[in-house]
Amino acid sequence: MGRVLAVLIWLITLLTVILFVSKRWWFPENISQHGVGIDRQFTITLLVVAFAFVAAQVGLGYTVWKYRATSDDKKERATYSHGNNRLEVVWTAITALIFISLAVAGQRVWASLHFQDAPPGTFEIRVAAQQFQWNFHYPGKDKAFGRTDPKLINDGNQNFVGLDDTDEHAKDDIVAPTLVVPLNRPVRLLLRSRDVTHSLWIPNMRYKQDAVPGLEIPVHFTAQKVGQYEIACAELCGQLHYKMGAKMLVLPEEEFQALMAMSQPDFQKQRDEYLKKYKLP
C-alpha cells in the first residue's frame, strides 16, 4: 500500500505541475506599468513555491515507499532517533532566509504604488461605487470637478454621485459607467462608495482596491496598451455582486482628450463607438 500511496502522491504532484506549467489558463495580458514587476515577482515566488512543493511531496512519497513495513515480522525495527538538532537549525535558517527575502522583495511594487504620490501630469478620475454599478466621474472640459453631496444622490434622476447642478464646475462634468484612461499617462483614481464596501478589480491592470464607505482612497497607475478591458467587483456587496462589472477603455491621448472635452450625451455616443472599435481581448 505504501507504493500505491507514493505513486498517487507523485501523480498528483506531476499533474499539478503540468497544470501550472502548461499555462493553458493563465493571467490575462498585463497592460500596466507596475504589472510587469508583479508578474516577475509572481514568477519568482511560484518557482520557490513549486520547488518546495515538489521537494516535499516527492520526499513524502519516497519515505512512504521506502520505509513501508514489508513483513509482519515484529523483529523488524525502525531506526530509533529523536531527531537531529543541527539539521533542525540549518533547515530553519534556510527557510527563514528564503521566506523573509521573498517578503522583502515582494514590497517593491507595493512601495512604488503606495509610497510615491502620483507623478505630475496625472489625470484624475473619481470613482463612486454603489450597489451594483461603478460610476466614473470626469471633470469635463474645465478640468475641475463639480461639487458633490450625498444628500443630492437620486437614482431616479440618474444623479448617482450627488452632483450639485448649481455649481459652476459641475455643468460640464461627465458621469459614466465606463472607465476611460489615456495611454501611457498616469491616472489617479479616487475611490469612494456610497453604500457598502466594493472592490475595483481590473485583471489586466493587475490592480485591485477596495472602495470603502466613509473613506476616500487614492490609487494611481499607468495603462500601456490601447483597448477595451473588463472591470469587476471583488468584494461581496450584495445579491448582484456577480454582475457589478464595467468596461475600461484605454485610448490614445488625442482620442482621450477629445472625449474628455465632450458634453455628457456626446460622450456617451462616442464611448459606444470606441467600445465597438476596441474589442475585448
Binding site: 498528483i12 499539478t16 520505509y67 514590497q107 457598502v196 461581496l236
Partner: protein, 626 residues
C-alpha cells in the same frame, strides 16, 4: 463564576475517603448519562456528533453552491420547497447562493473546524492522555457543549426566518452586514441578526471550553507526566485553547458592536453620508475598517485553532504507525507555540487592499511570511519521523500522511498571498479559496478523519472497517486535490470569489471546463463521504471488538480499557515513566514502550527493583479497582 462554584458542589456531594481516588460514581439515569452528562468522554462524543451533523450540512450546502455556479439555471428538486420564493421552481436566485456561501462558511469554520478537533477529540482525550479522571470543571464542560448546541440551533434557525438566511459571507463585513436591510439586501434582516447572535453564543461557549482545557492541562497532569513527556496532541490542544481564549473575546466584542449598529442605531462601523439612492441613511462617523481589524484579529488565530489540533493528531499518529519517536519533539512543541504566537500579529494580511496604511501592510507581510518558518519546521520533522521508519499503513496513517501532503500543498501558497504586491491580483480570487480550503479546510478535516479512525476503537471499543476506510481515503485524497488545485488556476486568471455565476465576464468564459471539472470532483468526493458515514455507524454496532491497545501505541489512552471506564482509569492514578513516543527502542522486548511501563530494562541491566515496583503497582491497582 457561578459555574465554577457548582462544580465544587457536584464534587462535595460525594465526599471521598482518604486514599480513595474514585470520585463521582457513574450516573445511572439516561439524561444524566447521555444528555446532560458531565463526563468529558460523553461530552466529547456529543461535540463530535454535533460537528458531524454540521459537516454534512455544510457539505450539502457546498454541493448546492457548485450546482449554482456551474449551471445557474438548473432546477434542483426540493429547493423550491426549502427556499420558497428565493428559489422559484428549484432554480436558486443569486441571494440563495450567497446564503449558501455564508452558512457553509460559518458552519464549517465554527461548528466543524473549531468544534470537532478541540471540543470533540480534545475533550475526550486530553484528560485521558494526561492521566486525569475528568476535566478540571466538569459542569462547565457540559455547559460549553450545550451553549455550543444553542449556537448551532440559532444558526440553523436563520434558514427559516423571513427574509432568508444571511448573505454577507462568514466575514460579515459592514456596512453590508450593518445596513443591508436598509438597502433591501435579501437576508440582511432577521437572518443576519440570528447569524451574529449565533456567533456570539459560540464565542462564549469556546471561551468556557478554553478555560477548562487550560486549567486541566496545567493542573491535572498525573504523576511523572512532565511537560516534555506530553503527547503532542496535548500540546496542540493547549496552544489552541490559548488562541481561542485570546481571540474569541475580540470577535465577541466586535459582534456586540455590530449588533448595536443594527439594532440600536449606533454608528460604530457605519460612516455618515451613505445613501440608498434616494435618502441619506441615519448614521455618521463609523469605520467599516474597524470591524475588519477586530474580525481578523480573531480570524487569523482561528485558522490556527482549526489546524493545530490536526497537526498534533498527525504527529501522534505518524509516530505510532511509523514505529518511530517523533523527530525533534521539542522543535515540534516550539513550532506550535511559534505558529500560535505569530498568528496574533499577522491579521493585517487579510486587509492589504482594504485601504489600510500601506506601511502597516508591509510589516504584516513580513510577519506573515515568517509563519512559514515554524510551518516548514513541522513539515521537515514529519518527514524526519517517517525517515527510517517501518510504516504500517492502517487507515489513520493514510489520513495522517494525507494531512502532511495537503498541509504542504495548501500552506505553501500562503507565500504568494502574504506578499503585498502579489495580493493585488490574488486577493479575493479563487486562488485564496484554493489556498485556505486546502490548508485550514481539507488538511484540518484529514486530521479529524485520522483522529476518528485512530481513536474510534478507544471511544467505542470496536474497530472501523479497514477496507471501507481505505476506499474513503483514496477517493477523498485524490478528490480534494482535484477540487482545490484547479481553483488556484482560476484565481490566477482572476476569477473573483462569492460570485453566484460566471456568466457576466468574458475573461472568465475560458474557465468553464475547469469549473465543470471541479464540480464533478465535488460530486464524487461528497458522495464518497457516505462510505465514511456508513463505516462509522456500521462499526459502532458490528465492528470487530477492539483490544485496549489495537495500534500498539504508547500513550495513556491506550493504558485503559476500550472504551475507558467512567473515571478513565478505574480508580487508579497512572504513573508516567517516560516520553510519549518510545517506539523501536533498541533492546526492548517490543517495538513500543508504554508511558506507564516502569520497566527500565532497556536502560539498565538490573531489573530487580523495577519488578518490585510493578508488583506494588499491580497490588494497589487491584485494590482500588474494586
Amino acid at each position: 463564576m457561578a459555574e465554577v462554584e457548582t462544580v465544587e458542589d457536584a464534587h462535595d456531594g460525594h465526599e471521598h475517603h482518604a486514599g480513595e481516588v474514585h470520585r463521582h460514581p457513574a450516573p445511572t439515569s439516561f439524561i444524566r448519562k447521555y444528555i446532560f452528562s458531565i463526563d468529558h468522554k460523553v461530552i466529547g462524543i456529543q461535540y463530535l456528533l454535533l460537528a458531524m451533523f454540521s459537516v454534512f450540512v455544510g457539505l450539502i450546502l457546498s454541493v448546492l453552491m457548485r450546482i449554482r455556479l456551474t449551471w445557474p439555471t438548473a432546477a434542483v428538486p426540493g429547493l423550491a420547497w426549502f427556499f420558497g420564493e428565493a428559489a422559484p421552481g428549484g432554480v436558486m436566485n443569486p441571494e440563495v447562493y450567497l446564503a449558501l456561501v455564508t452558512m457553509h462558511g460559518t458552519m464549517m469554520v465554527f461548528f466543524v473546524l473549531t468544534t470537532a478537533p478541540q471540543g470533540g477529540f480534545g475533550n475526550y482525550f486530553l484528560p485521558i492522555q494526561i492521566g486525569a479522571d475528568d476535566m478540571a470543571f466538569p459542569v462547565l464542560n457540559m455547559l460549553s457543549f450545550w451553549v455550543t448546541f444553542v449556537g448551532l440551533v440559532v444558526l440553523v434557525a436563520a434558514f427559516f426566518v423571513t427574509g432568508g438566511a444571511p448573505t454577507g459571507g462568514w466575514t460579515g463585513y459592514p456596512t453590508l452586514s450593518a445596513i443591508g436591510e436598509q438597502l433591501n439586501v435579501p437576508g440582511a434582516g432577521r437572518g443576519t441578526d440570528l447569524w451574529i447572535i449565533s456567533i456570539a453564543i459560540f464565542c462564549v461557549a469556546s471561551l468556557l471550553g478554553a478555560l477548562n482545557f487550560l486549567t486541566t492541562m496545567l493542573n491535572m497532569r498525573t504523576r511523572g507526566l512532565s511537560l516534555m513527556r506530553l503527547p503532542l496532541t496535548c500540546w496542540s490542544w493547549f496552544t489552541t485553547a490559548v488562541l481561542a481564549l485570546l481571540a474569541f473575546p475580540v470577535l465577541l466584542g466586535g459582534g456586540i458592536l455590530l449588533l448595536l449598529d443594527r439594532m440600536a442605531g449606533t454608528s460604530f462601523f457605519v460612516p455618515g453620508g451613505l445613501s440608498n439612492g434616494e435618502t441619506l441613511l441615519p448614521h455618521s462617523g463609523g469605520s467599516p475598517i474597524l470591524w475588519q481589524h477586530l474580525f481578523w484579529f480573531f480570524g487569523h488565530p482561528e485558522v490556527y485553532i482549526a489546524i493545530l489540533p490536526g497537526m498534533g493528531a498527525t504527529s501522534h499518529i505518524l509516530s505510532t504507525f511509523a514505529r518511530k519517536p517523533v523527530f525533534g519533539y521539542r522543535a515540534m512543541v516550539f513550532a506550535m507555540f511559534g505558529i500560535g504566537l505569530l498568528g496574533f500579529f499577522v491579521w493585517g494580511h487579510h486587509m492589504f487592499i482594504s485601504g489600510m496604511n500601506p506601511y502597516t501592510a508591509m510589516t504584516f507581510s513580513i510577519l506573515t511570511l515568517s509563519i512559514g518558518v515554524p510551518s516548514a519546521v513541522k513539515t521537515f520533522n514529519w518527514l524526519g519521523t517517517l525517515w527510517g521508519a517501518k510504516i504500517r499503513f492502517a487507515t489513520p496513517m493514510l489520513f495522517a500522511i494525507g494531512f502532511v501532503s495537503l498541509f504542504v500543498a495548501g500552506g505553501i501558497t500562503g507565500i504568494v498571498l502574504g506578499q503585498t504586491s502579489l495580493d493585488l491580483p490574488m486577493h479575493d480570487t479563487y486562488f485564496v479559496l484554493g489556498h485556505f480550503h486546502l490548508v485550514m479546510g481539507v488538511a484540518a478535516i484529514f486530521g479529524m478523519f485520522a483522529g476518528v479512525y485512530f481513536w474510534f476503537p478507544k471511544m467505542f471499543g470496536r474497530m472501523m472497517s479497514e477496507r471501507l476506510g481505505r476506499i474513503h481515503f483514496w477517493v477523498t485524497f485524490a478528490g480534494v486535490y482535484a477540487i482545490f488545485i484547479p481553483m488556484h488556476i482560476m484565481g490566477i486568471v482572476g476569477m473573483p470569489r462569492r460570485y453566484a455565476q460566471f456568466t457576466e465576464y468574458k475573461f472568465l468564459e475560458t474557465l468553464h471546463p475547469l469549473v465543470v471539472f471541479v464540480t464533478i470532483a465535488v460530486f464524487v468526493t461528497a458522495a464518497i463521504q457516505i462510505v465514511f458515514l456508513f463505516n462509522f455507524i456500521y462499526s459502532l454496532f458490528k465492528g470487530p471488538k477492539a483490544g485496549d491497545n489495537p495500534w500498539e501505541a504508547t500513550t495513556l489512552e491506550w493504558a485503559t480499557t476500550s472504551p475507558p471506564p467512567h473515571d478513565n482509569f478505574a480508580g487508579i492514578v497512572p504513573t508516567v515513566y517516560r516520553g510519549a513516543y518510545e517506539f523501536s527502542v533498541p533492546g526492548a522486548p517490543n517495538d513500543f514502550i508504554m508511558q506507564t511501563d516502569p520497566d527500565p530494562s532497556h536502560e539498565h541491566e538490573a531489573a530487580a527493583p523495577a519488578v518490585l515496583e510493578r508488583q506494588g503497582g499491580n497490588g494497589d491497582g487491584q485494590q482500588n479497582g474494586h
